[in-house]
Amino acid sequence: MKKIYVQEEWCLKCRLCEYICAYANSGFKDIAAALKDKPINTRITVEESGRISYAVSCRHCDEPSCVKSCISGALEKVDGVVKIDKDKCVGCFTCVLACPYGAIAAGEDGAAMKCELCVENSGGSPMCVKYCPNRAIILE
C-alpha cells in the first residue's frame, strides 16, 4: 500500500492541503458551499516554525497505537489504511492521546476524525497529494 510522504523542502506553508482535505471530506460538490463561513475539519495540518514547514497526516503505522488504544473497536487497519468506523466510535478520544503524530482530531460529529487516504470520500485518491502546488506531498 502506498503511503503519503511529505517533502519539507518543498512545502510552501500555503495550507492549501488543509482546505482541500476539509472540502474532500465535506460531501459538498462546491468548495464555497463546503467551506464558506464554516469550521474547517481537516485531517492534515501544516506544522510550521520559522522557515520550516510540513504537512502532518496519519502515517498509517505498521503497529498503530490508535488501533490498540481504541476502546470500542472503531479503529481498524484495512489494506494498509487505518480506518475509523464512525458508528462504533464513542468519542472517548483515547486515540487522539495515543497518536504520536497528533494526526487524529475530534470531528464535528463527535467521532474521531483522521486521514483515510480519501478512499472513502469523493476523492478516491489522496486529494492533498493531487492539489499540492509544489509536489511537497507525495504518494509512494
Binding site: E9, C14, E18, Y19
Partner: protein, 501 residues
C-alpha cells in the same frame, strides 16, 4: 504629504460569495497585496502593489479571485496615452531611469505571424511522422565544404566538435542570480533529459550543476563573472556574449540584493555588491579583437569545444555577422529585439534593435552570398513562442533556436514583467529562499521536457506536411514560406514570396 501620482494598473477583485477566507492568497503574495482583516472578519486586498503575476489566482481553491485592469481612466488621448503619462509622473517623482523586465510589450510587427508554411498536395506526398522516421537532430558548428569518403566509400566525419541537439531548440542564457537556483536546476535537468543545451548566462556555473556539463553552454560576458579554467572546462560549448536583444549596446546590472552567498561564490564577487557588466567588452573593439578572445578561449580548452558569439539584432547585423563568421567562431547567436531580460532600461528595451525575423533573413542571405554560410551555424532567439515559429525560423535559415521566455512560462512565469523587483512569486526571478522553494525543479524540469517534446511532435507534423523528413532539408528552404500582408520591401528582406505568388 505630497500628492500621490501613483495609480495601480491592476485591480484585484474578490468574489465574496466564493471566498472561503483560507488565506492562501495572503501566504502566497510576496507583494503583500492580500491580508486578513480581523476587524472585518474577512480577506481584504490592496491592489496598489499588485503586479498581476496571477499567483493568487492560480492557487485560490475557490476560484474567487480575478485581476482586472483598473477601470479608472485618464481622458482618452491617442498621443499622451496612460502609459506615457504615468511614465512622466514616475520619473518626475523618482528622477531615475525607468526599468522593465522581459521582452518589449509594445505592438511592433511580429513577422512570424505574417509568414505561412507550405504543405504537400497530390504531386508530392506528405509524410506521416507517426509511421515513418523523422529526423529532427541537428549539429551546430563548422560544416565541411565537401563530403569526403574513405577507400571503402564511407563518409568521413570531418565535423569539428559539433554540438548535437536532438531537436533544434536550446534554452538561452539566463544567469544564476537573475534566476533562481531551482530555475537553473530545472533548465539543466530538462536539457540533459532532452539531449539539448541550456546556457549558464553570465553569472558563472554553480558547483552543483557541473554534472550537467555536457548539456551546458558556459557564457563569457563583459563582466566575466565566474569565468575560470574549470568553468570553461565544465561546459560543452562556450558563448561570448557581445549583446542581448532586449538591451543592445548596454551592459547589465544585477542589484546587490540578489548577490546572496551562493550567487556571490558562483560569480566570484563579494556578497551584496552590485554585479555590473560593462556595455562593451573592454578588450574587444574590432573583429580582430574578437578573434583573439575566440582563440584565447579555444586555446584554454585545448580546442575541444565550439565557441558561440552572441549578438543583439541591430541595424547592420549582416555585416557584423559576416565579421564574426571570419573570427573563428563556430556558431553565431542572434537575439532579436523582442527578447527578454531580467532588467533593462525601458526606453532601450522598447526602442533599440530590430526584429529577429528580418535579422535572420539578412544574415543568412549575406553569409550565403559571401560563401561562408557553412563556416558557422546560426542560432536565433528573441521571442520564439511556439513550434511554428521554430519551423519558420529554420526555413528562413536558422540552424536552431534559443528559447528563454517560453521556458520561463513553462516554469510558471506569467509575464508580469517585474523580475527587477526580485520578488518573483513563482520562485523564478528571485533569490529569496522562501520564494525560491516555490519552484520544485522536479516539477519544473518535467514541464520543460513536456514543452519541448510537444514542440518536437508539432515540428515533425509540419515537416511531414511539407513532405520533408529531415530538419536539414527544411533549413533555409524559403520556398516553404509565403508572406501575408507584407509589403514588397519586407518580402525582399525576408526572401519569401507573397501568398498566392
Amino acid at each position: 504629504m505630497p500628492i500621490n501620482y501613483d495609480d495601480n494598473i491592476y485591480e484585484v477583485t474578490r468574489d465574496r460569495e466564493r471566498c472561503i477566507d483560507c488565506r492562501v492568497c495572503e501566504r502566497q503574495c510576496a507583494n503583500l497585496v492580500h491580508a486578513y482583516s480581523s476587524e472585518l472578519g474577512r480577506m481584504t486586498s490592496d491592489s496598489m502593489s499588485c503586479v498581476d503575476c496571477q499567483r493568487c489566482v492560480s492557487l485560490c481553491p475557490a476560484r474567487a479571485l480575478k485581476i482586472i485592469k483598473n477601470p479608472n481612466v485618464y481622458r482618452d488621448n491617442a498621443n499622451w496615452n496612460d502609459a506615457a503619462i504615468k511614465s512622466v509622473y514616475k520619473q518626475a517623482g523618482s528622477g531615475g531611469v525607468l526599468l522593465s523586465s522581459m521582452g518589449t510589450p509594445e505592438p511592433y510587427p511580429v513577422y512570424w505571424d505574417r509568414i505561412l508554411v507550405n504543405a504537400s498536395q497530390v504531386t508530392n506526398p506528405s509524410i506521416d511522422p507517426l509511421r515513418e522516421p523523422m529526423e529532427t537532430r541537428v549539429a551546430l558548428g563548422v560544416k565541411p565544404q565537401n563530403a569526403e569518403r574513405n577507400g571503402r566509400g564511407e563518409l568521413i566525419n570531418t565535423l569539428r566538435n559539433p554540438m548535437v541537439l536532438s531537436v533544434p531548440i536550446m534554452f538561452s542564457a539566463m544567469s544564476y542570480g537573475s534566476i533562481s537556483y531551482n530555475a537553473h536546476k530545472s533548465l539543466a535537468a530538462a536539457a540533459e533529459k532532452l539531449g539539448i543545451f541550456y546556457n549558464t548566462g553570465e553569472g558563472g556555473l554553480h558547483k552543483d550543476f557541473y554534472r550537467y556539463g555536457k548539456n551546458t553552454i558556459v557564457q563569457v560576458a563583459s563582466g566575466r563573472f565566474g569565468v575560470f579554467k574549470e568553468y570553461l572546462d565544465a561546459g560543452a560549448a562556450i558563448e561570448i556574449k557581445m549583446g542581448q536583444g532586449a538591451k543592445p549596446g548596454i551592459g547589465g546590472h544585477l542589484p546587490g540584493e540578489k548577490i546572496v552567498e551562493d550567487v556571490s561564490r558562483t560569480r566570484m564577487i563579494p556578497m551584496g555588491t552590485d554585479a555590473i557588466s560593462p556595455a562593451p567588452h573592454h578588450d574587444i573593439y574590432s573583429i580582430e579583437d574578437l578573434r583573439q578572445l575566440v582563440f584565447s578561449l579555444k586555446e584554454a580548452v585545448n580546442y575541444s569545444k565550439p565557441v558561440i558569439v552572441k549578438i543583439a539584432a541591430v541595424h547592420n547585423v549582416a555585416a557584423i555577422a559576416s565579421g564574426i563568421a571570419r573570427s573563428g567562431a563556430d556558431v553565431i547567436a542572434i537575439d532579436g529585439f523582442r527578447g527578454g531580460t531580467g532588467a533593462a532600461p525601458t526606453r532601450i528595451r522598447d526602442n533599440v534593435g530590430i526584429p529577429i525575423e528580418l535579422a535572420l533573413a539578412c544574415v543568412d542571405e549575406r553569409l550565403r552570398g559571401e560563401g561562408i554560410r557553412n563556416e558557422v551555424s546560426l542560432v536565433v532567439g528573441g521571442s520564439i513562442r511556439n513550434s511554428a515559429d521554430v519551423v519558420k525560423a529554420i526555413a528562413l535559415g536558422a540552424d536552431a533556436v534559443y528559447v528563454a521566455t517560453g521556458a520561463l512560462l513553462a516554469l510558471g512565469c506569467h509575464l508580469c514583467r517585474s523580475c527587477h523587483l526580485g520578488k518573483c512569486n513563482w520562485g523564478i526571478a528571485t533569490q529569496n529562499p522562501e520564494l525560491v522553494k516555490r519552484l520544485n525543479p522536479e516539477v519544473g524540469s518535467e514541464r520543460l521536457v513536456n514543452l519541448v517534446t510537444a514542440w518536437k511532435h508539432e515540428i515533425e507534423e509540419m515537416m511531414g506536411g511539407m513532405g520533408i523528413n529531415s530538419i536539414e532539408a527544411l533549413k533555409g528552404n524559403r520556398l516553404m514560406l509565403r508572406g501575408i500582408g507584407l509589403n514588397r520591401k519586407e518580402l525582399d528582406i525576408l526572401g519569401v514570396k507573397h501568398a498566392g505568388e
